[in-house]
Amino acid sequence: MYDVTIPSATGFDVISTNVGKINNKGFEAAVTYKVIDQKNFKWSTTLNYWANTNKIKSLTGVDADGDGIEDDLVSSGLFIGRSIQTIFNYQADGIYQIGETMLPGFQTGSYRVIDQDKSGTITAADRTFLGKQEPAYRFSWYNSFSYKNFAISVFINSIQGGKDGYLGNNTRIYFRDDNAVRNNELNGVNYWSPRNPTGEYPRIISGNHSTVEPNVYKDRSFIRLQDVSLSYTLPAGVLSKIKAQSINVYVSAKNLATWTNWKGWDPEALYPVFVNGNTVNVPDGLAVDGRPALRAIIFGVHINY
């Protein structure tokens, strides 16, 4: 089932339809190895790897435009031979600087859109395949060490996009209304301005819009130090004095560090937005109401009598 777009002249935007065939291929593996297994010192390591690709084999089975090839569903973003979450859109290439010659319908400080068909104007024909939203692979690495009464575990988690995968829309709104001012966006986001020609995001403007204000997609790949814990079990000699069966003192931490080039909140998190009458989950970019990944540090004592 997929929400396929239909002409608005019908009074509707999409219809949920059974459409097409898809080919899914995946690979998953987990390896655990006890590197050291002695009485006083143990080290065990576990590696997890996961990769999944999908490819659309057919869609409607119809060749309405008569070019001999089955039609893609361009307006629904579905293309035969590509993955479901392929990104087909305009390609931004930096920002127009003062004095630069611009394509018609663009203005200084807006994204420079690549004129793929070299027609001199930006039209729908200038869209191209920019990549996909699906990740290329993900892996996690779990290590546990114990030495006498001490135990340490470290868990690293990662999702990787590879060459052109795991992309997310990282566009910042660029409408300067009073809320943008109240939310302190002008300070918080690196917008282009005549005084900041190296700004990363387009001029934040009120009113005038360019012919095309493209979404800019960025790699969400990350490596995260997701869980670390350290614990110490009190030796039996101490226990007998205080009449306890076992006492364990520990400290554990979640999400201590994330390494990513993604701009915004947690690269892995999705938040719901309303598009074409449907709620879809999109990556959490530089949104005003986003949430970072929760970082928690827990100290604890575990006593059994």
């Binding site: 608005s8 019908t10 307006s75």
Partner: protein, 572 residues
């Protein structure tokens, strides 16, 4: 035990032998609403017709700050004053622009809903009279939507049946064919809708007169001028319809004020409830703080729909300072404009040129109707109680972000505005919106226009008839007579027949209908968008192109329609 086993055995055998008919599996909705039983009696149909009213109100008035006003921006009368100059029309009117696709979508939604009403009539249990009535209503709304589509895009796909399965191979009909359909629908509506004076009609409902008014306009667009005269005359000659010529309604004793001012005061638009307005033809109903009323007073404007003309059209008077002191307290419910934020400023043409013929006597140019002089209401200012004149600003006047202001140049902080957008005075706005901090102080959540809105008004019918008479070549004398009726009501000097041409009528429409008219429709149906922009609105003139006389078909629509080619308009 044996007996029971035997019984079970027999039952099992029986279930194998008998089977139900295939239709047994068809669900019949008896206790819930579904697409099958949604259109049975007149209250079902009324629910749908009410939704048509809502769709029109939303598209033309209450959707948000911007979309409804796009029928006024980019015309000869107004411009978006905070934006950079010159306007980026190439971008805003490109096939990929959301401005273009939003209106396309909204208007086709009206078509689709109207078609549903019409197509569901034969299978309903409506009486013969009701069948005619609901078909007339459905066809009125369909005509309204198609006329709007045809004005803006030219020929568009013509769909006259409910769409029950996805269809992806629409082709464009010609503009002429669309007009023919609209005229056919409206003639049916004229024959079957109740008259505006009939007791069965409620305020805000469409009537024979509304249909004839629209029919007259579409006949003009289609070049059938004598039919247009006939349709307009049918409205004008309706017993009980007349221009308002004496003061009336909720604030008729107040000064300053006059009959033109009274037309736009709260509670005065509807024919029935109280005010005795005989000029209104189709009034869009806006009710405060009731569900579906499209206006709220209890929370911020941002959290609910309403008609934000006050917000958009009144200047951001807050930002004016003279030698560092603000002469105005903002927001105030007086002639400083309520809680305006200064987006939609009149063009210089609207401000100056249209009133040059009779600037003093024409009451439509009186300061309480078209505010040029703003009385300082801040006791802390040395100017307190005196007028700050847009045409003659004191030296040291600054505006938004400290910009030095020049007299007679519209800026976001100060420009002349029409009081149709607001309701000055201590009880003009809903009582919830006053803070009491100082006289007439408004809350930050103000900004809506709370009055009902004229979509069609008899003064416009006269101007339509004048246009039709001019087109029929019977010209100037008859046309001037109609125009002069409208002018006389506002105490404006009569126009000489020799001076009447289409540009004069367009100017008269500015004077009479100002920010009330959805100007884009008028310019596009006449194919005069480009000419008028060049003539009247320098903000857009340098970016204007001839092909903008029609908007582009949205690129998304062309792409969605993958089974056939939806041709693009020339120049895009």
């Amino acid at each position: 035990m044996k007996k029971i086993n035997l019984c079970l055995m027999v039952l099992l055998l029986l279930t194998g032998t008998f089977s139900c008919k295939k239709t047994f599996l068809d669900e019949t909705p008896l206790d819930f609403l579904s697409a099958k039983n949604a259109f049975i009696n007149s209250s079902d149909f009324n629910a749908s017709v009410n939704n048509l009213y809502r769709l029109v109100r939303e598209e033309l008035y209450t959707k948000n700050d911007n979309d409804p006003q796009e029928y006024i921006y980019r015309t000869d009368i107004a411009f978006y004053v905070p934006a950079a100059f010159p306007a980026n029309l190439v971008g805003e009117l490109s096939p990929t622009s959301s401005i273009v696709s939003n209106h396309w979508k909204a208007l086709y939604k009206i078509v689709a809903e109207a078609n549903t009403v019409i197509s569901r009539i034969p299978a309903s249990q409506l009486s013969a009279t009701d069948q005619k009535l609901f078909e007339a209503k459905g066809r009125f709304f369909r005509a309204f939507a198609y006329r709007s589509l045809a004005y803006i895009w030219g020929g568009v796909p013509l769909i006259t049946e409910e769409v029950t399965a996805p269809k992806i191979d629409y082709v464009r009909a010609t503009r002429k064919e669309v007009y023919a359909q609209v005229i056919d629908d409206l003639n049916f509506a004229v024959a079957n809708l109740p008259a505006i004076t009939s007791s069965s009609i409620k305020d805000g409902e469409v009537s024979v007169q509304a249909a004839n008014h629209l029919l007259s306009e579409v006949y003009i667009a289609d070049g059938q001028f004598s039919n247009a005269v006939t349709a307009a005359s049918a409205v004008i000659n309706t017993p009980g319809m007349a221009l308002m010529t004496t003061r009336f309604g909720s604030r008729k004793t107040e000064t300053p004020g006059d009959v033109y001012w009274d037309l736009f005061r709260k509670g005065n638009q509807n024919r029935k409830n109280g005010s005795g307005n005989t000029e209104a033809i189709w009034v869009i109903q806006i009710e405060t703080d009731i569900p579906g009323g499209a206006a709220i007073s209890t929370t911020s404007f941002a959290s609910g729909d309403g008609f934000s003309l006050e917000r958009v059209h009144a200047p951001l008077i807050r930002d004016v300072t003279i030698n560092g002191v603000a002469p105005f307290r903002w927001p105030t419910s007086d002639y400083t404009g309520g809680r305006g934020v200064g987006f939609l400023a009149p063009s210089k043409y609207f401000i100056d040129s249209v009133y040059t013929s009779d600037p003093v006597n024409d009451i439509r140019n009186a300061n309480h109707n078209f505010v040029r002089k703003f009385t300082s209401n801040n006791p802390a200012s040395p100017y307190y109680g005196t007028d700050i004149d847009f045409a003659n600003l004191p030296t040291g006047t600054k505006g938004t972000s400290g910009a030095v202001l020049t007299s007679n140049v519209p800026s976001r902080a100060i420009y002349p505005y029409s009081t149709k957008c607001t309701e000055p005075g201590p009880s003009g706005h809903p009582s919830n919106l006053y803070t009491g901090a100082y006289p007439n102080a408004l809350k930050g959540g103000a900004g809506f226009t709370y009055q009902d809105q004229y979509l069609f008004r008899l003064a416009e019918t006269y101007l339509l008839r004048a246009e039709a008479e001019l087109g029929a070549g019977d010209a100037a004398a008859a046309a001037a007579a109609d125009i002069n009726l409208v002018r006389a009501r506002s105490n404006a000097a009569p126009v000489a027949p020799g001076s009447v041409n289409i540009d004069y009528i367009l100017d008269e429409r500015i004077r009479e209908l100002g920010v009330e008219e959805k100007r884009l429709f008028t310019l596009m149906r006449l194919g005069k968008w480009y000419d008028r922009i060049i003539k009247c609105n320098p903000f857009y003139a340098s970016a204007a192109q001839q092909n903008y006389n029609l908007w582009p078909i949205p690129q998304s629509e062309i792409e969605r329609n993958r089974g056939a080619v939806l041709g693009q308009n020339p120049g895009y």
